[in-house]
């Protein structure tokens, strides 16, 4: 297993190098450059030239690439040209925020999806099954940013107009913490953070939860028709144990592979959801960096996203081996 992990990690190196090289070429091929935001009637062309010199943009593109690569390989990600600060400190602020949001969503996706899928499979063709199918399809078809706006409109604004609505269900529409966060006590701080997580993680995760529920339902249906389930029932086990102990583990196999698929999906979804909820994460950083042609920041953020996706896929493969003893990695 260890050799497998090491091999996968080694394989990832050329992949990541290829990705950053491709991104470097694409972002430099896009019209404009980071000085464009300074192009203004009051700004003389000499100043712009000086800036390009200070930032090393006056050198030929292959030299820029090699010099970027050299400092990148030595662990120096450079300085953001738009935020005027070291990229390492930007990433240190932003990566945890995105991981918190997508991690919460991930838990939500699988917990909700699996639970709903099981219920539907066990009560196949019941009214409840049809209702949940309809609900899942409805939610699945909603774009996350639109769902986010609707959640804000209803749960962060309209309910403020109702006196009888409990305060804990009036959610904040933006940010990770309240304005007075620093003045709160420990438990209130935790509560405040969770309160801020509710709407964005629902917006980010609920559509995927709906699709997990669909997968879970069909996978479960397949499993409970197997002979060993019939055997389990025949020997008199309660239905609850049959489903949760015997059927669930096998039904989960195809679901675990979804994990590897959903993590990249979550990161790209985070771009929109972070925008709508003003969540200070990586998604917004990368989009702003691209618009402003902040080359070093674009490179660093795409690299981080690529690494996260590679790691996520690796975890999914390892998990696959854990739940399915038939899979052996040499």
């Amino acid at each position: 297993m260890t050799t497998y992990i090491v091999r996968r990690l080694l394989q990832a190196i050329p992949l990541l190098l290829g990705i950053v090289t491709l991104v470097f070429i694409i972002v430099h091929a896009a019209p404009g450059d980071p000085t464009a935001m300074y192009v203004h009637p009051g700004v003389s062309p000499d100043v712009i030239e000086q800036m390009r010199e200070n930032w090393g943009l006056d050198r030929p593109i292959h030299i820029q690439y090699l010099s970027w690569l050299r400092s990148f390989l030595t662990g120096d990600l450079g300085v953001s040209l738009t935020q005027n600060r070291p990229i390492v400190s930007i990433l240190a602020e932003r990566i945890p925020n995105t991981l918190i949001l997508s991690g919460t969503s991930l838990v939500l996706i699988f917990a909700m999806g699996i639970a709903i899928g099981i219920v539907q499979a066990v009560r196949q063709h019941s009214q409840l099954d049809h209702a949940l199918t309809l609900g899942a399809l409805f939610i699945y078809s909603m774009p996350s940013f639109w769902l986010g706006l609707m959640l804000i409109l209803i749960l962060a604004y309209k309910v403020h107009l109702l006196d009888w609505w409990p305060a804990v269900l009036k959610f904040p529409a933006s940010g990770m913490t309240s304005v007075d966060y620093d003045l709160m006590g420990g438990w209130s701080q935790l509560g405040d953070r969770l309160h801020h997580l509710v709407l964005p993680s629902i917006a980010l995760g609920v559509a995927s939860a709906a699709s997990v529920a669909r997968y879970m339902r069909s996978s479960m249906l397949e499993v409970i028709r197997q002979d060993y389930i019939r055997t389990a029932r025949a020997k008199g086990l309660p239905e609850r144990a049959v489903i949760l102990k015997h059927a669930l583990k096998n039904a989960l196999l195809p679901i675990v592979t979804l994990l590897g698929l959903y993590i990249p999906f979550l990161f790209s979804g985070a771009v929109l959801v972070e925008y709508v909820f003003s969540w200070p994460g990586m998604g917004r950083t990368i989009v702003d960096a691209i618009y402003q042609r902040d080359y070093p920041l674009v490179m660093a953020t795409t690299f981080i996203f690529a690494v996260l996706v590679v790691i996520a896929n690796l975890i999914a493969d390892i998990l696959y081996a854990v739940v399915d003893p038939r899979i052996r990695y040499e």
Partner: protein, 546 residues
Amino acid sequence: MRRAPRFGTVVALLLAGCGEGGERAQQPEFIPDSMRHGGTAVVAYHVEPSSMNQFASVDNISLELQNFVLFTTLIRYDENLQPVPYLAERWDTAATSDGMALSFHLHDDVRWHDGRLTTAHDVKFTFERIKDPRTAFPNQSLLALYDSAAVQDSFTITFYLRRHPGFLDPWRRISPMPEHVLGNVAPSELGQHRFGSESPLGNGPFRFVEHRSGDRWVFEANPDFPQSLGGRPYLDRLVYRVIQESTTSLSELLAGEVDICLSVEPHQVAEIEANPTTRVLSFPSLSYAFIAWNGRRPLFQDARVRRALTLAINREQIVQTVRHGLGIPAKGPVPPFHWAYHEDLKPLPYDPDSARALLDSAGWVDRDGDGIRERDVIRASFELRTHPRADREDIMTLVQADLAKVGFEVQLRVQEAQSLRRDITSRERPFDAFVLGWTADFRLDDRILFACSQLDAPFQWASYCNPRVDELLDQVTRIEDRSQALPLWHEYQEILQWEQPFTFLYYEVRPNGVRERIRDVRMDARGDLVNVNEWWIEPAARRSVN
């Protein structure tokens, strides 16, 4: 739906000085000065300020936070845009052989937030770094008139410069930076120094507390801010939050999480007005929207054609539908906030019939009956561009429909901002016409837009050249007495209205959403935060922290 405020009321509000919320302002019960202190005000805007470092940033909100919150400028403008003392308690001027000497006498009790005094050496340091080309300070041209600086004593500095009516203007825009913090930083590294985003040290009414990138900047009141500059601000804390999505910031404003929402969408104004806890403060900003006609294209070379284009565009309709009334149909490049604005000039009306007659007389006639005019072999057909922004795209659609009625064929193209900028500023001018916004300056100088000498420069989009306009634009930079310059400014606006190098669409009125609990908020073209040190919150309505 509530009606959007009508153009007339908006203007009336503006002329009244855009104070507290127009007719909605109720007379507040009197609250003594001592009880006004305290509370946190939250300001939200969709732009992340790039830096608190004067040497780096150019975006407006960074400048406002620097000049009104964290630092102090030497002078300020009052409501009439007349310079008044601020960090400099007074100044005097003397003529020299080749220009003038300008001496600022600084207050001797303004301290950096680490306790050191702000002195003339800080001013000189800032001046020299700005002038140093290695710093690549974006707005170097601000000090183009300035040659050198000499420190007379700790609180007196003298500048030597060439004469210009706006010679003081740079000093309402530049805040001195602390030499004892940044003095040892190499000029080429100043712009990106961590001072700007992680540890700014100011000398203004508020101190820096915290910056979380993409999220917020937190400032707290500076209790030692000298009385002569306004003293300690009433607010305890000022939090600036970045909220990009306008629907999100609106719901935060209405739900009470945000106190001031800068630049709300025009279509949100009615809802903010309808809510009893919020109001809208609007004022004419420095910006106007326009269509530039590329004068190198045969179609746009005749002033009669350009005038016909303007007559054919229903600008009042654009203001009503795109801006929900928050705009003033424009008559030229001088916005209404400016003293040189031509009050008596009437904007060109919406008059498609006159437009048709003008086009006929200019030789543009539809000969083949396809609905599109032509002259010789040239068809009256062109491409109109803009960058991706909902209001600009709406404007294009309305213009296309209006111009179709008088025989123009307009193709629309929405182009990514940077690639559009590359096209319009390139020497070849590979465009026909575009819709964009322009932000005027207090020290108005339109030579860059319309002077013959600029024909090959990046901003002479119209390729417009009129020797009389050149003469006027040069003269107004030499006359210090406003009343003498005014007739020249008026003539300039009259000529431009006749020749229409641009179609000036509207002057923008900027709506800001404000919660009623925040008192004494004044906003105008000088800035949204211009009197932030005077804002206060009703004691009963302050946030409670558990």
